[in-house]
Subunit: 356 residues, 2 copies
């Protein structure tokens, strides 16, 4: 049975379908729990959440489901910017969004939630699955989580990164293909040099490292799932497909933009967060192309554009929101998480019967 893989057995889920942990509001406790209740693995994208918010969300998820779920965090990286650089970028961002009629304030540290505080909650709450991206989790945390029986999932965009995750005894790796929406997980070398299509990347990993691989990138339907599992992946991770679920927390203008998106509508950009991410093209991305070389390091750039993004969301103005989406966004459909998983699994069964 296609539903029985090393991952479904180890985590204790019915289907090898993981809802991607999308930070920034999409992965409400309601979405996470609905996915897990439907037999997939729901994931909370907690990268931007402060420790207490994470704890509240986990408690809420547990009220809604008794099935396994996952929480994801961002591994912190080094960053630097002078005050002059920050002020300059602030000026450019403000110039780029006069339509919003809002003021961009130069940000001050901390630019992101304190990682160790976030991790303490993960450990204390003993989440069933912990996943991370942008780097490798520190050895102390790995040991502590393993002692509590937490299943660990890392993210790799190249074979080199996957090898490193294996060396650190991470349980499984998400092979993040270049099709993926949202932030690139690349943490060794340049992001531009680590753009492998999901199929190629999954093969690179499977043929070279003994680690369960979760295929991610452009997978939105049964064809994508069957193709990934046929290559040898133990599960798929799907993000964009879940963005339009009723339980997803993104705002309605973003949902509408996804539903009407065409095939060539996504782009890789650093302008929103300082880190390369794939999303729907819009006015802000286009205007900020001129300042490419001066985009600040993540998470400074991210903190600096936050008030603009929040204001744009409030106004329902898609020109200045970050609307992360993968390259198969054109397959977007609005439904509940349970309906989506039911449709996916039914379609996979039909497709497999056809092949056999």
């Amino acid at each position: 049975m296609w539903t029985t893989t090393a991952i479904t057995k180890k985590i204790g889920i019915k289907f090898p379908i993981i809802q991607a942990p999308m930070a920034g509001g999409a992965t409400t406790p309601e979405l996470v729990a609905a996915v897990s209740n439907a037999g997939g693995l729901g994931s909370l994208g907690a990268g931007y959440m402060a420790a207490q918010e994470i704890r509240t969300a986990i408690i809420r998820i547990r009220e809604l489901t008794d099935k396994p779920f996952s929480v994801n965090l961002f591994i912190p990286e080094k960053y630097h910017a002078t005050l002059t650089q920050i002020n300059q970028m602030c000026h450019w961002v403000e110039q780029s969004c006069p339509e919003l009629n809002t003021k961009i304030n130069p940000v001050i540290a901390p630019y992101a939630p304190e990682f160790d505080n976030q991790m303490s909650v993960i450990l204390e709450e003993k989440v069933p699955v912990f996943s991370f991206t942008f780097g490798i989790l520190n050895g102390n945390w790995i040991e502590k989580l393993k002692n509590k029986g937490v299943f660990l999932i890392g993210t790799a965009t190249t074979l080199t990164e996957a090898r490193l995750l294996l060396e650190h005894q991470i349980d499984a790796v998400v092979a993040q293909g270049s099709e993926s929406g949202g932030h690139r997980g690349t943490f060794i070398g340049k992001t531009e040099d680590a753009l492998f299509g999901v199929e190629t990347l999954v093969r690179h990993l499977l043929e070279n490292v003994k680690i369960p691989v979760i295929a991610a990138g452009g997978i939105m339907d049964a064809k994508g799932i069957v193709s990934a599992l046929a290559l040898g992946a133990e599960a798929v991770q799907m993000g964009t497909a879940f963005l339009n679920c009723h339980e997803s927390g993104i705002n309605s203008s973003y949902k509408d933009a996804l539903l009407s998106a065409m095939q060539d509508n996504t782009i890789l950009t650093r302008v929103f967060s300082g880190k390369m991410a794939r999303g729907l093209k819009n006015k802000f991305i286009e205007r900020m192309q001129h300042y490419q070389d001066d985009i600040l390091d993540y998470p400074i750039q991210n903190a600096l554009t936050r008030s603009m993004r929040k204001e744009a969301e409030k106004q329902g103005n898609v020109d200045f929101m970050s609307m992360w989406a993968g390259q198969s966004v054109y397959l977007s459909k609005a439904c509940s998480a349970a309906e989506l998983i039911k449709k996916l699994t039914n379609d996979v069964n039909v497709l497999l019967k056809k092949i056999k």
Copy 2:
């Protein structure tokens, strides 16, 4: 039978395997003919060849095979550079390769062979298959070739480009995935925005335009072929896989570099030709990163680095050669074209038996 597709029937070849037309020396008449004799479609990459050279090569191919073969040309594009810009780039290139102990001369037009002269030979010689990249063939040429019964293949990196090819009644389209080695065929919008993994791109095209699709990018073995055909592609086009064939005209140090290449060894760069292309990383690419913004338009940059590349080839110095290769280069094997096609087709049969 997997060997019977709309493309194999129309062109009259035994297997749906096209050897990619790689300009720059790889596709000798011997390679082209060997592939066609083995049941695939051999292709002459004639983009850099003057009209008379193309004619000589076609005559030689016909001496070596009576099977169908293909010739490929580059659709000319607009370009511009001031003398100051050319002199500046000339200086930088020279600074970047002191090890070669050679002088780079500022180039003067023409930077590339005259396209209409090239096309006249294609028409006069009535080649069985004509393929093109970097744009759309002019309507007059399309009409003339169609009147002679020439099968036409265009190249697309996005759905928008494929739609345009269909409007121009091109017979089939190569879906050039981002994994592909060599030049990107993108001709609408920015190359960076047109990087789709082959699987995603093939699906985009098949689900939206009624045109036979040839899958290209990272396909080096039976798994790649079966995967592409399963998605609905009518054939695969493979380049890197043929580079190490005994009949391939690339120099031996380039062949050795391919054989020892690892998964993360390729990069997309404009430094050699002015047009984005994927190849093995080397010293020249790394050093020229500093001058990214000043890389000249294709074909000026290409003409300007030519003497350096030729000298590097002569010296067997891989630091300054353009060594185009796709992302699955690590699967490279040295053998004859006939052996490669035999192995591929046998492996496909074994794999299909296993699946069924």
